[in-house]
């Protein structure tokens, strides 16, 4: 990979000013997405601004109606957190199946959402659970945050500091994973709360998306049978050597059924 200027400031303000002073600066959290992309020369930032010395970004707080998870919380930390396991077990279980143990020891929630990989698990968890992304300057709903592949509304000098997850009445995540890398070929988060049902799909499309027809069917009848006959169009879905678009479309329905069943 190309060399870069490395910064390791000790405050959020220091991170922001380092980003502003760079031609093409990128934030480095766990590096589980960014470093592989840089090795492949798909990104060559002039500056990397590490979060490793910034305190206060790794807390998990129970705010009653929601859990606030600091941006630098690792997947292993979220998976093992007693408060997450008790309040949103589907989120802890999802985090515990991201990648492999070594990826979970380094990869962070903030890095995952900011990167917005179309096969990442967190976008489905955020959109499915109706999470809010918190940055140094604003709050963005998940429905507005996750754009197409690798696209988010984050400014060049904006830092994700936390993600807030409302507590659902019930939720579950099911994914069909790539056997080598464990990324989602198709992953579905189903969640129900007093506002209704949300069904969010990752891995299958160019970005996370909701399936309104399944949400309406589940609001009426929360059962696997209710979604069994609902398919998504393969138009625009990803197609690669792992799975074609039609197969991914099929997997979306299967994973939705499994997630609903797992909700109990």
């Amino acid at each position: 990979m190309d060399d870069f200027q490395y910064h390791a400031p000790s405050s959020v303000d220091g991170v922001l000013s380092a980003l502003r002073g760079a031609d093409d600066g990128k934030v480095l959290a766990g590096g589980m997405s960014l470093l592989p992309v840089m090795k492949l020369a798909m990104a060559a930032p002039s500056d990397l601004v590490s979060l490793r010395n910034v305190p206060g970004l790794s807390d998990i707080e129970d705010h009653g109606h929601c859990l606030k998870i600091g941006a630098c919380c690792t997947h292993a930390q979220v998976a093992a957190s007693s408060v997450v396991r008790e309040r949103i077990p589907a989120l802890a279980a999802m985090a515990g199946r991201i990648g492999d143990p070594q990826v979970r020891n380094r990869g962070t929630i903030g890095g995952s959402v900011a990167h917005n990989d179309p096969a990442a698990d967190y976008p489905a968890a955020c959109v499915g659970l109706g999470a809010t992304i918190i940055t140094d300057r604003r709050k963005i709903s998940s429905d507005d945050f996750f754009g197409a592949m690798f696209e988010t509304p984050l400014e060049e000098d904006e830092l994700v500091t936390a993600v807030c997850f409302p507590i659902p009445d019930r939720a579950a995540y099911a994914k069909f994973e790539n056997p080598a890398s464990k990324y989602a070929v198709a992953g579905v988060m189903v969640a129900e709360d007093s506002d209704g049902v949300r069904v969010a799909v990752t891995g299958a499309g160019a970005g996370v998306f909701r399936v309104a027809e399944m949400e309406a069917a589940l609001a009426d009848d929360f059962s696997a049978d209710a979604v069994a006959g609902i398919g998504v169009s393969s138009d625009g879905l990803l197609s690669d050597n792992v799975a074609g678009a039609e197969y991914r479309a099929h997997l979306v329905t299967v994973m939705a059924k499994r997630a609903v069943e797992a909700c109990g």
Partner: protein, 157 residues
């Protein structure tokens, strides 16, 4: 170039590195600790697993500068002189290797498993080794070795 200092296998080591220097390259090329291997270089195979501050990580996907100030343990830091670590001994006893290329990463990963789960079952071991590939496909004896090593460790390193 940035200077880094880290404690590697209990010894403080310092060097100047480029920002882009990976931890695995720092260990292998600056410190000549070549027991840590590079297999895939794409974070999948786990041949490069070392411990950073007590947690297993893939050193091919970690910057040396990001490990500044850390405590790092590599495969070379496990044995006590001629006495192998119980996990190493278990791999030897149960023939948990064929070509041996993946073995350092397997052993480092397995020890982290036992540190997290002192009494793992076979399913726990197989799931934990998601990130460690053996291209000889010698998983059967590797799993036997990890279970025996976990038992010999008596619930921690």
């Amino acid at each position: 170039m940035p200077a880094v200092t880290m404690k590697v296998n209990g010894v403080s080591r310092s060097a100047e590195v480029e920002g882009r220097t990976l931890l695995v390259d720092f260990l292998r090329e600056k410190l000549a600790l070549t027991g840590t291997h590079v297999g895939c270089d794409t974070s999948q195979c786990g041949a490069c697993v070392v411990h950073v501050n007590g947690q297993s990580v893939k050193s091919c996907t970690c910057l040396a500068v990001d490990a500044d100030g850390a405590e790092v343990t590599t495969i070379e830091g496990l044995a006590n002189g001629a006495d192998l670590h119980p996990m190493q001994e278990a791999f030897r006893e149960h023939h948990g290797l064929q070509c041996g290329f993946c073995t350092p990463g397997m052993v480092m990963s397995a020890i982290d498993l036992v540190n997290n789960n002192p009494d793992p079952g076979e399913a726990d071991v197989r799931q934990w080794l998601d990130g460690n590939f053996c291209r000889c496909t010698g998983y059967h004896n590797i799993v036997k070795s990890v279970l025996a090593g976990a038992s010999a460790m008596g619930g921690g390193s």
